[in-house]
């Protein structure tokens, strides 16, 4: 509050950036890409080393391809964070969906296998929703717990299907590894998905209920929102998104394993937070999370290029997440 009196121009900038959190993030993304280009000339702009094209579609395609599953899992975090929750079972759900789909396909065919995979995801989401919405356990605990249970179930399930072998559905391979016009085919799924989420958050009644519950749950409840219904629906939706992301990731990695998507969990939280979503609820944007996922992927490329030992890479990754969030909090003046 005092900042506004001292420096109105700064405060106005802060307010503008708060309303448009994506703008400084895109600026930061461009800055990072510029650093990358300076470090390794020709990587992004091949014309400088005599090849065709202003911007390397291969590089951009790769960046986008690996940012898609991360951005989808970040969507789970953004949506649940709107109601001051978090979904730490998202990565496990993605892994379960991928593994179930790959092992069930040779047994029951591709279509039913995908349905079973999505169903398994929805089941985890339903348990999360009942725990968080009806019993009112803290979502952090609830989703950690269901994640653990689901991992255990997956290990038991694995022994029943160990002899059946795996098969990765054609269309998932096409989505995951194929390219059209230099861009990954995953975009065919991701672009409608992203518009769906953006529409859901901005224009649908459900989205408004999420914001209302996150801003002030008591007020929302007194205004007649049945919060438990909203929260159950929210966690089921979140798990379905995670399962979808897992299926896409399966097509990308092509080897189902029991810990396929688990390394994506903490980065997905980081992408959502960098993208300007508040973990205390009531404020968030999926656009920001998409840019956040791209930023994380560029940072990873950057650190790999520097050829640092793995330890230093992990540490710097953490420091950058912290620095970006701290700067963001400083600029917009809110948590």
């Amino acid at each position: 509050m005092t900042d506004a009196a001292i420096d109105p121009a700064n405060a106005r900038l802060g307010r503008f950036l708060r309303d448009n959190p994506v703008i400084p993030l895109i600026a930061f993304l461009v800055l990072l890409i510029a650093v990358l280009e300076i470090m390794k000339p020709g990587m992004i702009t091949p014309f400088r080393v005599g090849r065709d094209g202003l911007i390397s579609t291969f590089w951009v395609g790769n960046l986008v391809k690996f940012a898609i599953p991360l951005a989808m899992l970040a969507a789970c975090q953004v949506l649940t964070m709107l109601t001051a929750g978090i979904d730490l079972s998202a990565s496990v759900v993605a892994t379960v969906a991928a593994f179930v789909c790959a092992t069930a396909s040779p047994l029951v065919g591709v279509g039913p296998a995908v349905l079973i995979a999505l169903g398994a995801g929805a089941l985890v989401g339903l348990v999360n929703g009942i725990g968080a919405g009806i019993v009112r356990v803290h979502p952090l605990i609830m989703t950690l717990g269901t994640g653990l249970i689901a991992t255990g179930c997956l290990q038991v399930y694995q022994r029943f299907v160990i002899s059946t072998g795996t098969e990765i559905p054609e269309f998932l391979l096409w989505l995951g590894t194929g390219r059209s016009f230099g861009m990954p085919n995953g975009l065919f799924m991701f672009v409608p998905f992203a518009f769906g989420i953006l529409w859901l958050m901005r224009f649908s009644g459900f989205g408004r209920l999420l914001f209302a519950l996150g801003s002030n749950e008591n007020a929302a409840r007194l205004s007649g929102v049945r919060s438990w219904q909203v929260i159950v629906a929210l966690y089921v939706l979140s798990s379905l998104i995670a399962a979808l992301a897992g299926l896409l990731y399966l097509g990308m990695i092509r080897t189902p394993s029991l810990s396929l998507a688990n390394p994506l969990l903490l980065p997905s939280v980081a992408a959502a937070v960098i993208g300007g979503t508040s973990i205390f609820g009531g404020r968030g944007s999926f656009g920001g999370a998409i840019v956040g996922a791209l930023i994380l992927r560029v940072i990873e490329t950057l650190l790999t290029l520097l050829q640092m030992p793995q330890g230093a890479r992990i540490a710097i990754f953490g420091l950058i997440i912290l620095a970006v969030t701290a700067v963001y909090v400083r600029i917009t003046g809110q948590r």
Partner: protein, 313 residues
């Protein structure tokens, strides 16, 4: 007396639950005796320290996702230092390092004003990276007396040394703090930060102190890890999740201001003995994971229904 029972109902209930489970174990496996208790206490050791650290930061109203990583840093530092500087100096360095790491976590939270969960999430990567920089593969060696300090029984046969270590260290750290002004500030900050601030509690300093205590407990956790295995292990173990579960099960409210250290530590033993019972019952280890998770979620659900049905509307 009734007041004491009422105030500590949750902890006493846990203790009774633990004794019942202990009785169940004994009836299932009549051989379960001194050595069984000793291995139970040894297995619980790193979990207990991680949980104690987590409990302190949860009481102050935060959460520390980096406990497992800090423990990894401490365990590799101990294993690398001890062959050259000797056991006692190594232990002191590691303890100072743990407290310093915790203070850095707390300081960053206070200075940057970024939520605890995000700062410690970022620091989880940072400390994990440091552990890998110090020692990229499991290795090193710890002093023999440190390894001996958690094995066997102390004072009389049947009282596991590891249990004595847990009880002595956590009491020596926590009881003086809880009785002092700092303890009061920690509970005040956890209950209502702005009310504490307006009553003249140095909120920022209190938080840094609480995180620093957490770091100190993590240092003990790291030392106990090194003492159990004899080497340093740079990859963080499954202590984050287990410590959050034990803290909640131990009656500390997420959000802060309520609970103590005794409840969570008993909760650690409850969770460990469930695993022992399932092993004795011949349950497949994978199914054990499922049951453990279900028990955890179930207990937390039950606790939420019983305790805060009226409080949280």
């Amino acid at each position: 007396m009734t007041g004491f029972i009422q105030r500590n109902a949750w902890t006493l209930g846990l203790l009774v639950l633990f004794l019942i489970l202990l009785g169940t174990t004994k009836s299932m496996q009549p051989d379960f005796g001194v050595s069984g208790l000793e291995s139970l206490a040894r297995a619980a050791l790193p979990f207990a320290f991680a949980t104690a650290g987590m409990a302190v930061v949860v009481i102050v109203g935060g959460i520390d996702l980096s406990v497992a990583s800090m423990m990894a840093v401490c365990s590799v530092t101990a294993a690398v230092l001890m062959p050259s500087v000797g056991g006692v100096a190594g232990v002191l360095v590691v303890l100072a390092l743990g407290a310093a790491m915790g203070a850095i976590n707390g300081g960053l939270i206070v200075v940057t004003k970024v939520p605890d969960i995000v700062v410690t999430l970022a620091m989880l990567f940072v400390w994990e990276g440091f552990a890998l920089l110090i020692l990229s593969t499991p290795g090193g060696r710890v002093a023999d007396w440190l390894q001996a300090s958690t094995q066997g029984s102390a004072i009389f046969s049947g009282l596991p040394k590891a249990l004595v270590v847990i009880a002595f260290i956590s009491a020596a750290i926590w009881i003086p703090i809880q009785r002092s002004k700092l303890g009061l500030s920690i509970y005040a900050t956890g209950s209502d930060e702005s009310a504490a601030f307006r009553s003249g509690v140095p909120v920022g300093r209190t938080r840094v102190a609480a995180y620093s205590i957490c770091g100190l407990f993590c240092a003990f956790g790291g030392l106990s890890l090194a003492s159990l295995t004899g080497i340093g292990e740079p990859v963080p173990g499954p202590y984050l999740m287990a410590s959050v579960a034990a803290v909640v099960l131990g009656g500390v409210v997420l959000g802060g201001g309520r609970g103590g250290l005794l409840g969570p530590i008993i909760a650690v033993f409850v969770l460990r003995i469930i695993r022992t019972i399932l092993t004795f019952a011949g349950v497949d280890p994978n199914v054990t994971t499922i049951i453990e998770g279900t028990v955890m979620v179930g207990v937390v659900m039950l606790a939420t229904i019983v305790t805060y049905q009226g409080a949280r509307t």
